[in-house]
């Protein structure tokens, strides 16, 4: 007997909510700290002003810890994909039933949207004006196609790790959440300053929707990057892992 789809829907939405609220929220807070207050106050402590990989590592760890916590808390309920690319990739390699794909993706998008809107309400206008709710866009000098490739490679590594430490029955039990979280932190540290390192269409959808609804800022032109790249990368990783690691 499997846990009901309704409960799994809630779990996926909750997991994605945690991911976006704390992960994308960390990006917002980093930008707000870097911007400081105007006029200056003792709270302008300068964290983030230096920029560089340190900030991205911090943001990556916030994502990673949120992901690990979600996996350990909700993994048994829904599987805790919290990422449409992961759901689609598992379906592509016949590890996940097709009838559950759409409900899972709807739940993930819903959880991300609620997280961004609640974060904006809780933190205030600066979360949008300064932090953009942690929305991902390609950074200066990164073209549209380059961004898709970078997102695909990043998500490839994420999905490859998921296949190796969680899907593969030979994997040692108990480590999946920690390792997947650390993998995400590492990926974000490296490609964060290139594309924002979304690796996840839902994670980008939430801030985009929030920025659009609350500030009228439309970033939707970049959304295909964060759909196409992660899905291609995740599917490629799932198939390659199966090819490399499963004997006929």
């Amino acid at each position: 007997m499997t846990i009901s789809l309704g409960k799994r829907f809630i779990a996926e939405a909750l997991g994605t909510f945690i991911l976006v609220f704390f992960g994308a929220g960390a990006a917002v807070v980093t930008l707000m700290i870097a911007a400081g207050t105007n006029p200056a106050t003792p709270f302008n402590i300068g964290i983030g002003a230096l920029g560089g990989l340190g900030d991205w590592l911090a943001i990556g760890l916030a994502f990673g810890i949120a992901i690990a916590a979600s996996i350990y808390a909700l993994g048994r309920v829904s599987g805790c994909h919290i990422n449409p690319a992961v759901t689609i990739a598992l379906f592509a390699v016949r590890r996940f039933p097709g009838r559950d794909v759409i409900p899972y993706i709807v739940a993930q998008f819903l959880g991300a949207a609620v997280a961004s809107l609640l974060f904006a309400w809780a933190v205030g206008p600066d979360a949008i004006a300064i932090g953009g709710l942690g929305a991902t866009t390609p950074f200066y000098g990164i073209g549209y196609l380059q961004a898709i490739v970078i997102e695909a490679i990043g998500t490839f590594l994420l999905m490859f790790v998921i296949m190796g430490v969680a899907v593969d029955e030979r994997a040692p039990p108990g480590f999946a959440g920690l390792l997947v979280g650390l993998a995400v932190a590492g990926i974000i540290t490296t490609i964060g300053n290139l594309t924002g390192a979304s690796l996840n269409p839902a994670r980008t959808f939430g801030p985009y929707l929030g920025d659009w609804l609350l500030a009228g800022q439309s970033l939707w032109e970049f959304f295909p990057i964060y759909i196409i790249g992660p899905i291609i990368g995740a599917i490629a990783a799932a198939f390659l892992y199966d090819y490399l690691c499963c004997d006929e």
Binding site: M1, T2, R8, G75, R76, V77, G79
Partner: protein
């Protein structure tokens, strides 16, 4: 193997089960059968309960220790 409880009472009866915790031999009268639901799976798949529970045999003392009854 003989039933430990019956032996304590000065009786002798064949054991039909063994306590899964302490290994005590138990006759039908002293064996406690506790059916346990088994869940399999987990991240990245939803866990699911096996259709049938697994039978587990316990002696009275281990049953009381585990379930407080």
């Amino acid at each position: 193997m003989k039933c430990y409880y019956c032996a304590l009472e000065g009786k002798e009866s064949e054991a039909v089960a063994i306590c899964i915790v302490c290994g005590m031999g138990l006759c039908l009268e002293h064996a406690i059968r506790k059916d346990v639901d088994v869940w399999e799976g987990g991240y990245p798949f939803p866990s699911r309960r096996l259709k049938a529970p697994l039978p587990r045999f316990l002696c009275g003392e281990c049953y009381a220790a585990l379930y407080g009854k």
